[in-house]
């Protein structure tokens, strides 16, 4: 199958399914396209909101490239985002002082929280023999449970406990934003640094090369003297760090409090992005932008035409599924559940 078909068919299929579903709801697809664009990029505020959801997605996807490269299915990424958000919330709630103290401290705490949660999955895999897919999935829910427990228990809102979240953090603990916009240049900077850092690490450094060897053939890597366990744990830790930062951005830059669904699903969405992009970090940024733009557009459709916002997820899902079936790069590079003997 030609390259053009492989690239075009998923897009065509996704758009076709979107158009059919819209037609079923009695909406003209061309009108919808305009609204999606408007929803994502229609004004400075819209662009800023889109970029602010781009940040956690890019961070999660960048981290996932590292674990995929190491031959790992880090399904636990959602939990690592939540762990980061919890750690950031803890600092935001308890550390007094000005913003230039609290915000970096919250980010660092989030990073550490994500690393710890990821290493847990990593150690379960390397020492406990627990496949990281099941271990990670379990830890996702444990983290989610911990967040809910904190929100309803120790960190409950003043007055009555509610699943709508903790009290809003004091303003010093918010990620600083541009005036009158929700756009935080710091958050964008962190995302770009994470993305570029991972790209450089994997392509331009010796540890990155060794990690690719570990993921490509652990047996050969071991014969070549690469300490494979340390590299596997390192990959988990790095992904956890970036996911933790994503959690901090969600908590201190978007919600300004801890909410039960604080991860926003960006971890799982990040897996889709990486499945499409393969190990090519250059594609992560643009693909993530398409993803969040479509999602923002879906919200706009709901507001303006009363079309359910889940349409955007359907369109993206169809695109990724068709790409996988056509043998997208990520489908080949995705590690198997069990190595062939």
């Amino acid at each position: 199958m030609s390259r053009v078909v492989r690239l075009a068919l998923p897009v065509v299929a996704a758009l076709a399914v979107g158009a059919v579903l819209l037609a079923l709801s009695g909406v003209s697809p061309s009108e919808a396209v305009g609204l999606v664009w408007e929803g994502a990029f229609g004004s400075a505020a819209k662009v800023s909101d889109t970029l602010m959801s781009w940040v956690p997605l890019v961070l999660a996807a960048s981290g996932l490239v590292v674990t995929f490269t190491a031959g790992l299915w880090n399904i636990g990424v959602e939990g690592q985002i939540v762990a980061g958000a919890i750690a950031a919330t803890w600092v935001a709630r308890s550390l007094p002082g000005p913003g230039w103290v609290v915000v970096p401290a919250a980010l660092l705490a989030a990073l550490a929280g994500g690393v710890a949660w990821a290493l847990l999955a990593g150690l379960l895999r390397t020492r406990g023999g627990v496949n990281e897919i099941f271990g990670g999935l379990g830890l996702d829910f444990v983290a989610a449970g911990l967040a809910v427990y904190l929100i309803l228990g120790p960190w409950q809102r003043q007055g009555v406990a509610s699943t709508s979240g903790t009290d809003v953090f004091r303003v010093q603990a918010w990620l600083p934003t541009l005036p009158n916009l929700r756009l935080s240049p710091l958050a964008i900077g962190i995302a770009l640094a994470g993305l570029i850092g991972v790209g450089l690490l994997l392509r331009g450094t010796r540890p990155g090369l060794r990690l690719r060897a570990v993921g490509g053939n652990p047996a050969s890597a071991l014969v070549l003297g690469i300490p494979t366990e340390r590299y596997l744990l390192g990959a988990f830790a790095l992904c956890g760090a970036l996911a933790g930062l994503a959690g901090a951005v969600q908590a201190t830059g978007f919600h300004h409090k801890l909410v039960p669904a604080v991860s926003g699903g960006y971890g799982f969405l990040g897996i889709l992005v990486v499945l499409l992009a393969g190990f090519r970090t250059v594609w992560i940024g643009p693909l993530a932008l398409v993803f969040v733009a479509v999602a923002a557009g879906g919200t706009q459709l709901q507001l303006r035409l009363n079309v359910d916002s889940s349409l955007s997820g359907v369109v993206l899902g169809v695109g990724v599924l068709v790409a996988l079936l056509l043998g997208a790069r990520g489908a080949k590079e995705a590690p198997p559940l069990v190595e062939e003997p």
């Binding site: 450094t205 010796r206 690719r212 490509g216 053939n217 050969s220 014969v223 070549l224």
Partner: protein, 481 residues
């Protein structure tokens, strides 16, 4: 009822596993298929049993052509195979193992299986999970199952690996009984003495081809020659005056997965090439890995330049035989492979420079590929060149497993000239080979392994292939047979 193979061909990617193999086995005979690892024996047996389909050629049973690649039809035609690692389901009881895939009556099965076992002198244990039985017992149960299903051709792939001596004797007695009843037994092995003890006829495979076929008994030396062959005029090795002893192996004993070797004591000098000869699995691989620091000695010691090999890993390079299994990394390019073992320890890699370096390595090592070629798409010879090129220039001990296996003559010559160059620069080479001429031509000394022990260390200048052949076959040198 005869079993016949006609012009069987099978390739795996660029590797030819079987080339134009024809064979006729008559009922009631025990027929050996002999050859070194990688000679194509297992592939051929899997083709007969329908496990894999040949690219060309056909299998006939009693004159009827069998559909290719269908274990179902081969089994129906009465062909059963006992795989090297018996294909049993470990958590299931032996009765379940027997019932799986059969259409026999469950109620009477246990009794029938016990009867078959009695006939063979075995014992069938219906309620025991396979995982709790020894490999030998699993094998016996598999044989019982196959005979219960009524096989007329019984293929045994290296059946004596991992079983006890007593089990081996039971097995051979059972096989003789079966042949007496008119069954065809195909006995696949790389062990000469077993073939000589058990079989009526032998076909020797080498590099995927039939190297010869003969009645037994025959002098073992002839079989060794057929197995190991004679390459066309080996390249002359460069004599390098050996230096002091750098690799000191002292009463070394090793064990892994139930297979042991040793005690071995030998000193290898700087610039020397030490060949390790012997039938495969006699302990050579264990020794190589112990010298590489990848296998801890059970007792005794290995020292390289006076230190534990583990602490000398930057000076020692190990080149395993399985190029894609444990040597190279699929998905990484030639340049990336070279960078993995580059002595440069800088954090970042300048890929421009790296590609330039790779380009000159490619030219020097005559690898037909570009710096961006993925290692897994190179041909076998080029993969071997790459693996040698990955040995850093400052490596002072090169440990190579079957460095020329599967290579054409030109590539093999090239490998040896490269190793000569390394030795001239002060490196010590220890290698295994299944080619006697190569061992004589390329080693200063040859250590011959038999059943886990070094039974002789010979100077290659005075050694003859026939002397080696005797040692390898476990025979006293000089005794004519």
């Amino acid at each position: 009822m005869n079993l016949e193979l006609r012009h069987i061909e099978k390739r795996f990617g660029p590797t030819v596993a079987n080339r134009d193999i024809s064979l006729l086995v008559e009922s009631g005979s025990i027929h050996a298929v002999l050859g070194e690892n990688g000679a194509g024996k297992s592939t051929l047996m899997k083709i007969i049993s329908g496990f894999i389909a040949p690219d060309a050629g056909e299998v006939l049973m009693g004159g009827d052509r069998l559909p290719p690649g269908s274990p179902h039809h081969s089994a129906a035609a009465g062909i059963g195979m006992l795989h090297q690692d018996p294909l049993v389901f470990l958590p299931m009881t032996m009765l379940d193992n027997a019932m799986l895939g059969s259409d026999r009556n469950t109620r009477t099965a246990a009794e029938e299986l016990a009867d078959v076992a009695d006939r063979l002198g075995f014992h069938f244990r219906p309620d025991v999970p396979a995982g709790r039985l020894s490999v030998g017992a699993r094998q016996q149960h598999e044989m019982i199952r196959l005979l219960w299903l009524g096989v007329r051709v019984l293929i045994l792939d290296e059946p004596t690996t991992g079983i006890t001596e007593a089990q081996r004797e039971q097995l051979f007695a059972a096989l003789r009984t079966l042949a007496g009843e008119g069954l065809i037994v195909l006995f696949v092995s790389h062990k000469l003495e077993e073939v000589a003890e058990l079989c009526d006829r032998v076909t020797v495979l080498r590099h995927g081809l039939v190297a010869g076929e003969t009645e037994l008994p025959t002098p073992p030396l002839r079989l060794v020659e057929m197995m190991f062959g004679r390459s066309v005029e080996p390249v002359a090795r460069k004599r390098i005056p050996p230096g002091e002893v750098v690799l000191d192996i002292d009463r070394l004993e090793m064990a892994e997965a139930g297979v042991g070797a040793g005690p071995i004591s030998i000193g290898v000098r700087r610039g020397e090439a030490l060949g390790l000869a012997g039938l495969e699995g006699s302990g050579q691989r264990l020794l190589l890995r112990a010298c590489a620091g990848r296998l801890r000695p059970a007792s005794g010691r290995v020292l390289f330049e006076g230190a534990d090999p583990v602490t000398r890993s930057d000076k020692i390079h190990y080149v395993p035989a399985g190029r894609l299994e444990e040597g190279l990394i699929p998905g990484l390019t030639v340049t990336e492979h070279l960078e993995l073992t580059a002595p440069d320890d800088s954090f970042t890699i300048d890929w421009g420079e790296a590609e330039e370096r790779a380009g000159s390595v490619i030219a020097a090592y005559q690898i037909s590929g570009t710096p961006e070629t993925l290692a897994d798409v190179l041909s076998g010879g080029n993969q071997q060149r790459l693996m040698l090129a990955m040995a850093p220039d400052n490596a002072r001990l090169l440990l190579l497993e079957q460095p020329t296996r599967g290579l054409d003559l030109e590539s093999a010559r090239w490998v040896w000239s490269e190793l000569d160059r390394r030795r001239s620069a002060g490196a010590t080479v220890v290698f295994t080979s299944s080619d006697l001429d190569e061992l004589v031509a390329q080693s200063d000394r040859i250590a011959v392994f038999f059943a886990g022990e070094v039974v002789g260390v010979v100077e290659s200048s005075t050694a003859t292939t026939s002397e080696l052949g005797h040692l390898i076959g476990g025979l006293a040198p000089g005794v004519s047979s």
